[in-house]
């Protein structure tokens, strides 16, 4: 690249860089700084340096640990459900070909709904007594009483329940991306494999899946990041309860930073969260993308 090229590249990157520096990096630097201080929400001027104490507190707190595990579990639930459902529907669409256009359009609907509305809506669908879900299940004879499943009150299942609106909102995203990925697989390749005597399952296992791998990786990556940060969509359903059984890390950060005003501690948790996300992303990056590049196709 010539020197003028380089200068031009930097010039092109400058506006976005300046924006991100001012509106993201600056608040982020504040966050990093605060994580080494004891500082109250409403008295940012009265701060005392405490070194790594906030981090030590965060790493030894059972509440933080629990929230971290639930964040992982929540992300796992959302990704698994979205991917399974999304892939299944994408395959169905694919087998229908062009005829699926109307269905695909309808499938886009939930993507247009604000997460806050989706959370409130699902709370209303699931909640005992008023909820239509248990009512229908009872009428179908699947439940003896509408109180048999406490979607939002049972500690053992609440994390699954609060994941439902998130799954509902974004399965369409997963489906549509995977569908287009499927459509982009050259028909000639599939045809060739079929001539070689591959069955439908083999075709899927040895042709479709490897070719779809980069698309799958990106989808999981983007959705994983977003699910791990989920906040308001869960908050409006349960406020993290009962007994913190649906509290994820972003909520714990919110509680400590805003509601309890313990900015230093909350900042330390947020910094740890960000570092963990980075580490996991790198791990995912090298384990999903790289091997594929090294192996060629499977």
């Amino acid at each position: 690249m010539s020197r003028s090229d380089r200068r031009y590249v930097l010039l092109l990157l400058a506006p976005a860089t300046v924006f991100l520096a001012v509106f993201v990096a600056w608040p982020l630097l504040n966050l990093f700084r605060d994580s080494f201080y004891e500082v109250g929400l409403m008295t940012p001027g009265e701060r005392s340096f405490v070194g790594l104490e906030n981090f030590q507190r965060a790493l030894t707190s059972s509440r933080v640990g629990g929230a971290a595990l639930r964040t992982l579990a929540y992300t796992g639930i959302v990704l698994t459900a979205e991917f399974t459902l999304g892939f299944g529907v994408a395959l169905l669409f694919n087998s229908l070909g062009r005829r699926s256009e109307l269905l695909r359009t309808i499938f886009l609907f939930p993507l247009m709904i604000p997460p806050i509305v989706a959370g409130l809506l699902w709370r209303f669908l699931l909640i005992d007594n008023f909820g239509i879900v248990n009512h229908i299940l009872r009428q179908l004879g699947l439940l003896a009483s509408t109180s048999d499943i406490a979607w939002l009150g049972d500690r053992d299942i609440v994390l699954f329940s609060v994941a439902l609106p998130d799954i509902w909102l974004t399965t369409s995203f997963v489906t549509l991306v995977l569908y287009t990925g499927l459509q982009n697989i050259p028909a000639s390749l599939l045809e060739a494999a079929r001539i070689d005597g591959a069955g439908a399952l083999q075709l899927f296992r040895y042709v479709t899946l490897p070719l779809l791998r980069p698309v799958i990786a990106v989808v999981l990556f983007i959705r994983g990041i977003d699910a791990a940060r989920a906040f308001d969509i869960i908050w409006v359903q349960t406020e993290g309860g009962p007994r913190f059984a649906s509290e994820v890390l972003s909520m714990h950060i919110y509680r400590n930073m805003i509601r309890y005003g313990d900015v230093g501690f909350a900042s330390a948790i947020a910094v740890l969260f960000l570092l963990a996300m980075l580490a996991l992303s790198l791990l995912a990056f090298f384990s999903i993308w790289r091997p594929q590049a090294l192996r060629g196709d499977a």
């Binding site: 008023f130 406490a150 939002l152 349960t238 406020e239 309860g241 009962p242 805003i258 509601r259």
Partner: protein, 439 residues
């Protein structure tokens, strides 16, 4: 001469209010919660007329009242001139609020419910002026209580008259009595009452029984010491939890029921009694546009079936947790003089709030003026409850929100799960409070 004098008086009357105002009319920014804004609207209009100032209400959802104000305090002081805040936030904002001692004269103090006045006091000075008060009272189904058949059956079974409950025993008896499967399909379709295990509701409701049992306060004593495991706490929690865990006279899954859900269960006819805030009786009679007897959520017929009684009494008498809101003037306000005048004016015209659909006030005289009138039948119960000997506010500690979220709510949810005994739950709470630095 006489006519000149008269002219002077008229002139004075006309220009008087303007002369009282500051030289420059200002715009006051007032932070309020979306649900309570109506209580101050009429008075604010009057204030604008009389002073020439402009009042701009900033209406936000409940949690944002705290968050907006806190965010502004955190970044160089609030731009609000007045904020109407929930009592639980008083300690958090007390150091940032202008003392209002000058406004709280003896006369004012005499006209405000004592528990309310105490809640606005911080380090010996009043930082908040009560704007309206509320408390949980007993709602019951008048049609059931006044039914001669029910009365006879109740008399036969319990040996005393069926009337709105006044004690723990009566409350329990009646809740047991009315829990029934009225259509005979094998499933209970009318429950005696409900218990709340979801916030908001889980955090406060059990406390009223703690007070009724004679505790000097809830969770923390006046000196900040831990009292969460005293005898009254145990008695109160045991009473509350037993309705669900032992007697089964409440709808299933209490951990999904908070105030909003409990209110709806009652007004939809699922429960025979409920503990709920005093405003709902009057509010239910208005349709969405503010017309009378609209009963948007239950229908006009059902409204006639709703009765309201004072909160029940324990050994120590009637007790409830007041839910007052206060006007505070942030120290950073640039229009302090006008803001003070506004707070004073809101107190003076407090009675206007009673006429709103929400129908609440902080002044005893305002409540008494309307008590007993049509559509105000609930006020008598509310006054009796607010004047209860054991009606005491929540502890004024700056990190109450944390105590509430981290200790109180999970403790109640534990107890309502029926697997942890109330005594063990309270012992756990003590441990948590000690870990937070309380003694």
């Amino acid at each position: 001469m006489k006519s000149v004098l008269l002219l002077l008086i008229v002139l004075l009357l006309v220009t008087g209010p303007a002369a009282l105002a500051q030289d420059e009319p200002v715009t006051l920014r007032v932070l309020v919660e979306g649900g309570g804004i109506s209580l101050q609207l009429a008075a604010a209009e009057l204030f604008e007329e009389q002073t020439g100032h402009t009042v701009e209400f900033v209406e936000v959802p409940y949690p944002s009242v705290f968050e907006q104000l806190a965010a502004e305090m955190a970044t160089g002081g609030s731009a609000f001139d007045v904020a109407t805040i929930d009592v639980v936030w008083i300690p958090a904002f007390a150091d940032f609020a202008e003392p209002l001692d000058a406004l709280v004269t003896d006369e004012v103090a005499a006209d405000i419910f004592p528990a309310l006045l105490a809640d606005g006091l911080w380090n010996g000075s009043y930082v908040g002026m009560p704007t309206w008060a509320n408390a949980e009272v007993i709602y019951y189904r008048k049609d059931l209580w006044e039914d001669p058949d029910e009365q006879a059956a109740f008399m036969a079974e319990y040996g005393y008259e069926l009337a709105p409950p006044t004690t723990w025993q009566e409350f329990t008896d009646m809740a047991v009595f009315f829990t029934r499967d009225s259509d005979g399909d094998g499933a209970i379709d009318l429950y005696g009452t409900d218990v709340k295990g979801a916030p908001p509701g889980a955090d406060v409701e059990w406390m009223v029984h703690v007070l009724q049992a004679g505790s000097p306060g809830v969770v923390l004593g006046a000196d900040g010491s831990i009292i969460v495991d005293n005898d009254a706490h145990l008695a109160g929690l045991e009473f509350y939890v037993s309705h669900h865990c032992d007697l089964g006279i409440t709808p299933a899954n209490p951990l999904e029921i908070g105030w909003a859900e409990g209110e709806n269960l009652f007004f939809q006819g699922v429960t025979a009694m409920t503990r709920f805030w005093g405003h709902a009786y009057r509010l239910q009679q208005f349709d969405l546009s503010g017309g009378l007897v609209g009963a948007p959520y239950i229908g006009p017929e059902a409204v006639a079936n709703v009765g309201v009684a004072p909160m029940i009494a324990g050994e120590a008498g009637i007790g409830s947790i007041p839910g007052p809101w206060f006007n505070i003037v942030p120290k950073s306000s640039e229009n302090k003089e006008a803001a003070m005048a506004f707070v004073q004016f809101m107190y003076d015209q407090n009675v206007l709030g009673v006429q709103e659909p929400l129908g609440l006030s902080a002044r005893i005289s305002a409540f008494e003026q309307f008590a007993g009138e049509e559509n105000y039948e609930s006020l008598t119960a509310l006054i009796a409850t607010l004047n209860g000997p054991q009606t005491i506010g929540r502890p004024l500690v700056p990190n109450w929100q944390q105590v509430n979220d981290e200790v109180v709510v999970p403790m109640v949810q534990d107890a309502l799960g029926c697997e942890v005994s109330p005594a063990d739950a309270l012992a756990w709470a003590r441990g948590e409070l000690e870990a937070m630095g309380f003694e």
